[in-house]
Symmetry: C2
Subunit: 215 residues, 2 copies
DNA sequence: GTCTATAGAGCGATAGAC
DNA sequence: GTCTATCGCTCTATAGAC
């Protein structure tokens, strides 16, 4: 009986115990968010990791493979996160927790799921990445619609109009805020965070400043 | 006395009366929105216009020059548009008119001012473009804050919280919506448009479906 | 699993003829 | 103002040694 804690499949510990494949993904993720998919190369990654171009091709034969792995990683991370977030006391808390995942990594630029990151260069990314991006977007959208409905049920959120439209508006605002933060600093993101949460919370009476943002 | 209809400055009518410089900008603008700045080349433009690579370099010596011209074009177009929009009856109408400019060109992809388009690849565009993008963003932001204040004055809009935060949220939502539309179709944009206008309008009583979207 | 070396393509850009 | 031709560079990707 194999130890269930040891994941089956690929062998990993190489280069003095470091996991090259994982390090490639981490570096590529940051480059993707700062420079776009067509704005970084295998060379950028190789220099950061102190390895050679060809070593990356061993782990990800084509750049499309790397791109697809990045999107899948986002999707899986988001789905795992929603499981954790299910323990939040209210739907409002779950939504704020989701927005907070952006803030937590804003300077390092790693997010749980920057769902619309590929929209700006959609026609210039490989087909398989396009499809993965569409699936990722659907996951986030459906979770958000569901959570808004939950929020109406537990009376933790208020909004007017349709939950589908509200979900899309919030997701779009988060995505745009991420881009504005790149252009004009993280304060832009915090403004959007404040406004979204302010509008979502019931009894937004005077004096209530809403959830604080992590420093 | 010179004819005031004939603009002073650069001579233009070439290639059978066609304005190559302008055609380059139009083609580049659409490529930029669909593929990102690093996702299109002079070749893409040359093929579309039936000219040669070198002809583009005559009008825009470097790609940075072309990029800067594109952002300046957006800025000037937006500033000219705000002058026109000043004739709208209310601040709410001006905001809706601004959102509408996105819709009008959504399939052709030409917008008045997709203010955050460079956020996704900010670190991978030339310095001068970065600075121009920051100025463009500031223009839109300031106009939006001013218009929200006007809206409080003429009672045509309602919102909670600070006008600066609300402006940033709306601008971010529009930008995100544009990217979502690239990924999942223009209906995504229309959802955000509906929700933003719904939340902005006073007396959003039942039965009021808000401003219609142009087909 | 990582290396050296290199192929092959596309890129931005320039020179000079017309 | 547009062309042909080409340069030098970077990019993705592969072959083969270790």
């Amino acid at each position: 009986m194999p130890n269930p804690l040891l994941k089956s499949g690929r062998r990993r510990p190489i280069r003095g115990g470091r996991d090259t494949r994982e390090e490639i993904l981490v570096a590529a993720e940051e480059l993707l968010l700062r420079r776009g998919f067509n704005g970084f190369s295998y060379q950028h990654i190789a220099v950061r990791l102190g390895i050679r171009n060809a070593a990356i091709h061993y782990h990800f034969p084509t750049k499309e493979d790397l791109g697809v792995a990045l999107v899948r990683r986002y999707r899986l991370r988001f789905l795992a996160w929603t499981d954790e977030a299910a323990q939040c006391a209210s739907a409002f808390d779950r939504l704020v927790a989701y927005f907070q995942t952006y803030v937590d990594h804003l300077d390092g630029r790693l997010q749980i799921c920057p769902v619309g990151i590929f929209g700006a260069e959609f026609d210039a990314i490989p087909d398989r990445m396009q499809r993965e991006a569409q699936m990722m977007m659907r996951d986030v959208y459906e979770w958000m619609v569901r959570t808004l409905h939950d929020g109406l049920g537990d009376r933790s959120v208020v909004f007017s109009g349709d939950a589908h439209d509200k979900a899309m508006e919030m997701a779009a605002a988060m995505q745009g805020a991420l881009q504005f933060a790149s252009i004009a600093g993280r304060e832009r993101f915090e403004q959007v965070f404040r406004q979204i949460t302010l509008e979502l919370r019931p009894a937004s009476a005077a004096g209530d400043t809403g959830p604080a943002i992590a420093a």
